[in-house]
Subunit: 407 residues, 2 copies
């Protein structure tokens, strides 16, 4: 008898008809004799509605009370799925965050799960009861309601799977799995049968938001066998596993992109110790994430140019922060460019292969696409290019690394 954790997102829980459909998927696992725990999101749109109320009440809503409000969305779908499962003749009951309990840190709105109580849960599962658990929510040691941050239900599901030592954690979503790239850009993108945790993390960090990053980190740390599959089809999904489970390792798992990029160039920074540190120190203090950094060689010392990227959504704040330190740093002017995107190739295979980057640079150069900045990790190469080349670059790279499905 296997223990299975199933997680359904907001699109899958949007309305009673879809919840009934979810219940039939749960029934299938129950009929196979498995012990089944189900983690659910709020109905699509509901969390936004609740967040909207909080912001309307106060733009700086008390975080503990914000959590009280927004955690209610998952409570509703949890009860409704339990009602539906019971009505279909299964035994089911809800276990809310405070009932298990899901103990978290005190960081309201972005809490981390510290522990999940499994006594009542295991008793229920052993008795053939389907446990329905709201994602996203937990409780501090002091007994206050917390939430895990947007997309936190994935993390809840993985944490429940880890606590139950589940055989599988199946994340049902509105896509059929993880693809080699965005199928809207490359119709010949292929669904991956398997992907490593590391690749999944890098893909998430560059904009392929199938799973919440923290859920993948947790699955990797706890060795949870994660599946991404569609609520709306019976196709097999993508299994996220450790590297040693993938025998035939592809060089590149996928090509991802991120439009939430803006390039900032600080022109004529005095080339002295502390000037660059003052720039990045001020941004860090304002909690603005700096990604790619290029320091141009200073032709006319003692002045240099510094180029870097920030999330496009943070550009306004970044400008203000940088203008405030202008006198202190002593730079000449600031140039911002929002028409940039980051395109990345990701694959654990590149660890053991040379020449992966060359393929990328050559493929882009052949099409006249200029690279404005580069960053690399052990399993990822990212380039910053003009936004107008986005689709072309993704297609060219997808072909260059042999990822296209057979025609």
């Amino acid at each position: 008898m296997a223990t299975i954790v199933m997680k359904f997102g907001g699109t899958s829980m949007a309305g009673i008809e879809r919840i009934r459909h979810v219940a039939t998927r749960v029934a299938r696992e129950v009929e196979r004799g498995h012990r089944v725990a189900v983690v659910v999101s709020a109905m699509a749109g509901e969390t936004d509605r609740l967040v909207g109320y909080c912001r309307e009440a106060s733009p700086l809503a008390d975080p503990a009370e914000y959590d009280v409000v927004v955690a209610s969305g998952e409570q509703v779908t949890t009860g409704l799925l339990a009602i539906t499962l019971n009505a279909m003749g299964m035994k089911a009951r809800s276990f809310l965050g405070w009932q298990l309990p899901v103990t978290t840190s005190d960081a309201h709105g972005l809490a981390r799960i510290l522990d999940i109580g499994t006594d009542a849960l295991n008793l229920a599962l052993d008795a053939g009861v389907v446990a329905v658990i709201p994602g996203f929510q937990g409780m501090t040691a002091g007994g206050r309601v917390t939430t895990l941050g947007r997309g936190g239900s994935d993390t809840s599901a993985v944490a429940v799977a880890a606590a139950l030592k589940a055989d599988r954690c199946d994340i049902y979503t509105d896509v059929e799995g993880v693809y080699t790239t965005d199928p809207r850009i490359v119709p010949r993108a292929r669904k991956l049968a398997k992907i490593t945790y590391e690749e999944m993390l890098e893909l998430a960090s560059v904009g392929a938001k199938v799973l919440q990053t923290r859920s993948v980190e947790l699955a990797m740390k706890e060795g949870v066998r994660l599946s991404v599959l569609s609520s709306f089809s019976d196709e097999p999904g993508t299994l996220v596993v450790s590297e040693d489970e993938i025998v035939e390792q592809e060089l590149i798992a996928g090509v991802a992109y991120d439009r939430n990029e803006a390039k900032v160039t600080i022109v004529a920074v005095p080339d002295r110790p502390g000037a660059v540190a003052a720039i990045f120190g001020a941004l860090a203090k304002a909690n603005i994430n700096v990604d790619m950094i290029v320091q141009n060689i200073a032709h006319d010392r003692p002045l240099t140019d510094v180029t870097f990227t920030v999330p496009r959504t943070e550009l306004g704040r970044a400008r203000k922060v940088l203008e405030a330190v202008r006198d202190q740093v002593g730079y000449d002017r600031l140039i911002a460019d929002e028409n940039v995107v980051k395109v990345s190739v990701v694959g654990v295979g590149m660890k053991s292969h040379a020449g992966v980057a060359v393929t990328m640079f050559r493929a882009l150069a052949d099409r006249g696409i200029n690279i404005q900045a580069i960053t690399t990790s052990e399993i990822k190469i990212s380039v910053l290019i003009a936004e107008e080349y986005l689709e072309l670059a993704v297609r060219v790279l997808h072909t260059a690394y042999g990822l296209d499905a057979p025609a």
Copy 2:
């Protein structure tokens, strides 16, 4: 320093603008130096929406899971009011049903409050923190979510007031208090400055739904000084108190009516022991409440007619139940009349005065209004009349008992 419990209904909590208005009322009590606990309902319409989801999921929704779903409405308004109070510079925090805890019976959907924990609550109030508490919700001893039934937030407020030994429990609603009768029918109806618990209970039971009946029973039992007043005006409301607090007792406190009445006549019932018992036994078994009963004198023994009233909303079910026992009882036929209403006069003064009923019967007879059935309690006289006379009867009685406001 007084301890005040304030309760706000769904209309008062419907949207952030109204919640802000509620917060200013709370602020006024805080500025007076009082210890303040606030009990809130869900936003108007929200509980209906949640109940609708449950019914759509299953007409016979699992009651424990139904409670998980519908309790969420009050959680939302609780958090939003706490956010708003904090944003206005007050100290406030939420205490959910399971956090206090509000321990209830296991009767899901219609649970009774058994105990309210006050340790954390008193600590907060002593520290000048406004406690915001969701009405309607509680927790079983086993730790499952419960709800108290529609209108249960009034009862929550009274129970919190009793547990805190509060000096006042102020129920803010969308009317300005308790009136001598429905002002839509009698423009010269007067707002009562005071009313006894007993009168309030009788008025509620005959359709003047200002307060949930159980909340008044509980207030009477626990000696909670209850006020009914409007969220939307600064007029003084109506104080609900024990009889000995009312010095100048009026003979009649008010005239009430109930449209949810249907009259059933069972024609030609065999006049033998057990026949009538079989009729009312079957209705009781089906949980149909029988109110006024008239057994006609049997002119042509051994047959008699039995007339009684049931809630109009239950007439369809009552017919089915009665048709099922027709052969067993041996009656001839059933006549139902939905065009009836119950009109009642209520007042503790009638305990010590004779002739109260005569005034009623004479006033109605003078206008040619036929009385079809009568019931009385110590402080109430009710008559069943044809619905077309409803407004006329209420006006006539309001005048006959000297309740009209000075012109």
